[in-house]
């Protein structure tokens, strides 16, 4: 017994919160990377923006803040700007708004966690832009999202509401991982070609990339060797053991939809995602191709989103 309207709000609540967490991880790792690298090696914060959003946003940013592309303006845009619907502050606010209408199906502690996070972001997002307080702010956002996850894991019934939450979370997470791979891995792989000059900071860059989805340590435990671009990409896309890999997310999406009503209608969309991923495994790790391939994966995720809305929300209206 889950109302279609409530299901929609839960699904989006989960996506927004996952977006906030993923963006926090991304900005945190990029900041660490930039601090590590010599000033000359990494001049631009724009790749961050490309991962988290798109060029239209960058243009908007330029109009609003003048110095587009500067660290402070980009980080503010991603963390604190309520005019950017994808910023951490906006995502948290949207998640809270969605959860306000689903309080009857979520454990009370879950709502309190999201509400706490909302209050925290409201008073700390602006100061979180500064380098010296940024890690603390982002760490807190990630921590609260994890707290919510813990609450759901430990005190929530494994019911339809729970599965919808996991569904939204997994779709958003998969999407973020593909964007990290599509933008940053593609750029790095392109610079690895035989003609390009060898970048001595490549390993640092790859570490940063893995960190941006909190995958570095787990990657090293699995591969037990120095970092290589192709195995890193492989890990992020296919590692069945790592919960943020795209393949893991796809498994989780399939599980959730199997436990929800109308799975005969919704599961074919996951079959399509699996097929895209299978096809990808046989292709070369070429930078340009990778970027295009990630767009295919993203399109498959959009296909799942569409199917789910058709089955659960539009059909009932």
């Amino acid at each position: 017994m889950l109302l279609s309207r409530v299901a929609d709000n839960l699904y989006w609540g989960a996506r927004y919160l996952e977006r906030a967490e993923d963006t926090a991880r991304l900005v945190r790792s990029y900041t660490e990377l930039v601090i590590d690298l010599p000033t000359s090696a990494l001049s631009s914060w724009e790749p961050l923006l490309a991962v988290a959003g798109n060029g239209v946003m960058l243009q908007r940013l330029g109009e609003h803040h003048g110095a587009a592309g500067g660290e402070m303006s980009i980080v503010r845009f991603l963390i604190a700007d309520l005019g950017n619907p994808g910023s951490i502050a906006s995502s948290i606010e949207l998640a809270r708004e969605n959860l306000r209408t689903t309080r009857e199906v979520m454990p009370r502690e879950a709502w309190q966690t999201v509400n706490d996070l909302f209050l925290y972001a409201g008073s700390n997002a602006a100061s979180g832009v500064e380098r010296r307080s940024r890690a603390r702010f982002l760490g807190h956002v990630i921590g609260e999202c994890q707290r919510l996850d813990g609450v759901l894991t430990t005190v929530m019934n494994r019911d339809e509401a729970y599965e919808l939450w996991r569904l939204g979370q997994s779709i958003e997470r998969a999407d973020m991982t593909t964007r990290v791979v599509g933008v940053r891995a593609a750029t790095l792989l392109a610079s690895d070609g035989p003609d390009s000059k060898v970048d001595v900071h490549d390993d640092v860059q790859w570490m940063g990339l893995l960190r941006s989805v909190s995958a570095l340590q787990m990657y090293q435990r699995v591969t037990r060797g120095p970092i290589e671009g192709s195995t890193a990409v492989d890990f992020l896309l296919f590692a069945p053991s790592f919960p943020r890999s795209v393949a893991s997310c796809a498994t989780r999406i399939r599980e959730a939809l199997s436990r929800l009503p109308q799975s005969s209608i919704t599961l074919p969309a996951v079959d399509h995602l699996d097929a895209v991923l299978d096809d990808l495994q046989t292709r070369a790790d070429d930078g340009a191709e990778l970027d295009a391939a990630m767009e295919e994966v993203q399109a498959a995720l959009v296909g799942i989103d569409d199917t789910v809305r058709d089955a659960f929300v539009r059909a009932a209206a």
Partner: protein, 478 residues
């Protein structure tokens, strides 16, 4: 609504006129005396932080936008001796039993009118009488399943019923939340003395709603029908659904099918709903029966209800008795149906529908509280001795234009409770709204929502107009 001329004339709920503690409040007052003001303020601040963190809010309107505000709460509770409370509880049950019989009678034989106890012209003029409900037979003959009666205490200590809210009374969620906060603030006092718990309300509500399910349904699906997130009481709607494991639905989530049953739209398809606890006013319930422009209701809901396929609490039409004019007849209604004397007194009420009483009101307006018969939330209320001459004249014009819509009462000396105001403890006026459930059995909350006017001397306790709230302790005094 009543008013204190001088604080000395008001009855204080915790402290007797000679300054000694009332017996039920002794332990509390000893604890308060032992605390420095700074400590007390610190506890108040912590309580406010809890309220913020728990997301206990109410919604107010400003610039056409609903704004979520933290629920205002004062940590010093209002205390009532259990011995006094038991009498009030019996009085409230008596009152609601009679009111429900009155409503049922109005929609059937109208014996009370035929017998000349209730004037026929009042019924004819009633805006809340729903012809669509005539002949309907809600289970147990109960129409007002959930009600909240506002009580006030005059200077001599008499507790009066000020009004009965029989449509969609709100505030009960804050009774439970206030207690949750107050248990943290005064944990040791709860250990030392016997304070009646309030937490079972939602369970009692659930039980009552199950008791009115259509015949043959043993495990009914219950839904709370809300106008939506912009309603000022949305927090409460959500709270009650949470605590009962019920679905929280909006009109658009429901549909009445050709079998006259009500269904909700779920991700697995349509699912039958047996009992609706509606927090939407009559007029918006069903565009087929009432306001055709309503988007908050469900087309065909009245049809389903009349066919006995769904129970609605409160029943459509119950509001006919929630009327400050009908209020004036409640003592007669109790005597008529129950052949008993009212246990709880009414505040004497002048009814402007009668020319002689209207003339009295206009002549003595400066000594009276004048209120519209059909508004809630304190809007349109005039306190005679607080108003300027031009405000009085403006109200006289309103009364003359539509006399039936106005009643007036003498200015009572509303009781006070010590309240934390900017670090100092000062007396502030309070009222009390207990909640009464009527189904197969009846139930009264242990205490209720104590609302407090936060400005010195003010009588406006509504949270929408800057009022606050307190926990209410029913204490077994030794």
């Amino acid at each position: 609504m009543a008013h204190v001329r001088a604080q000395a004339h008001a009855w204080d709920e915790l402290v007797a006129a000679d300054g000694s503690p009332r017996p039920a409040a002794r332990a509390l007052l000893e604890q308060l005396a032992a605390l420095e003001h700074a400590e007390l303020q610190e506890r108040q601040n912590l309580a406010e932080l809890d309220i913020l963190a728990m997301g206990i809010t109410f919604t107010v309107y400003s610039d056409g936008r609903g704004i979520d505000r933290a629920w205002p709460f004062d940590i010093i509770p209002r205390v009532i001796a259990a011995s006094e409370w038991r009498r009030i509880e019996v009085g409230l049950k008596q009152r609601l039993r009679a009111i429900n019989m009155f409503i049922d009678d109005l929609y059937h034989d109208q014996r009370i009118v035929a017998d000349g106890v209730f004037p026929a012209e009042l019924l004819e003029q009633s805006v809340n009488f729903r012809p669509e409900c005539v002949g309907a037979n809600p289970l147990h003959g109960v129409w007002a399943h959930i009600s909240g009666s506002d009580l006030v205490r005059d200077g001599d200590g008499t507790m009066y019923v000020l009004e009965d809210n029989l449509r969609v009374p709100s505030g009960v969620s804050y009774v439970l939340e206030n207690r949750a906060i107050s248990k943290r603030v005064f944990a040791d006092l709860f250990a030392q003395q016997s304070i009646l718990p309030v937490d079972s309300y939602t369970d009692e509500l659930n039980r009552m709603l199950c008791s009115i399910a259509p015949e043959g349904v043993s495990h009914p699906t219950i839904a709370v029908l809300t106008p939506g997130i912009f309603n000022s009481a949305y927090f409460e709607h959500s709270f009650l659904a949470q605590r009962m494991g019920a679905a929280l639905v909006e009109g658009a989530d429901l549909v009445v099918s050709s079998d006259d049953c009500v269904y909700m739209r779920t991700i697995g398809g349509l699912e039958r709903v047996h009992v609706i606890y509606r927090r939407v006013d009559d007029a918006f319930l069903d565009p087929e029966a009432f306001r055709p422009d309503s988007t908050l209701g469900v087309r065909g809901l009245m049809r389903s209800w009349r066919a006995g396929r769904v129970a609605i609490a409160n029943a459509p039409g119950a509001g006919v008795a929630d009327d400050k004019v009908v209020y004036a007849w409640v003592p007669d209604i109790i005597r008529y149906y129950l052949d008993e004397e009212p246990i709880l007194p009414n505040v004497p009420t002048y009814r402007c529908v009668y020319p002689d009483e209207c003339a009295y009101v206009i002549e003595h307006i400066a000594e009276l509280v004048v209120k519209p018969a059909n508004e809630s939330g304190g809007y349109g209320l005039l306190i005679g001795d607080r108003a300027t001459r031009s405000e009085l004249d403006a109200h006289i014009a309103l009364i003359e234009a539509d006399p039936r819509n106005w009643v007036a009462q003498p200015i009572l000396s509303l009781s006070t409770v010590p309240t934390l105001c900017d670090g100092e403890i000062e007396p502030r006026h309070v009222d009390l709204r207990p909640f009464i459930l009527s189904g197969a059995q009846s139930y009264v909350t242990a205490g209720g929502l104590t609302r407090v006017a936060l400005r010195p001397g003010s009588l406006i306790v509504n949270s929408s107009q800057g009022g606050g709230s307190k926990d209410t302790w029913i204490v077994e005094a030794d």
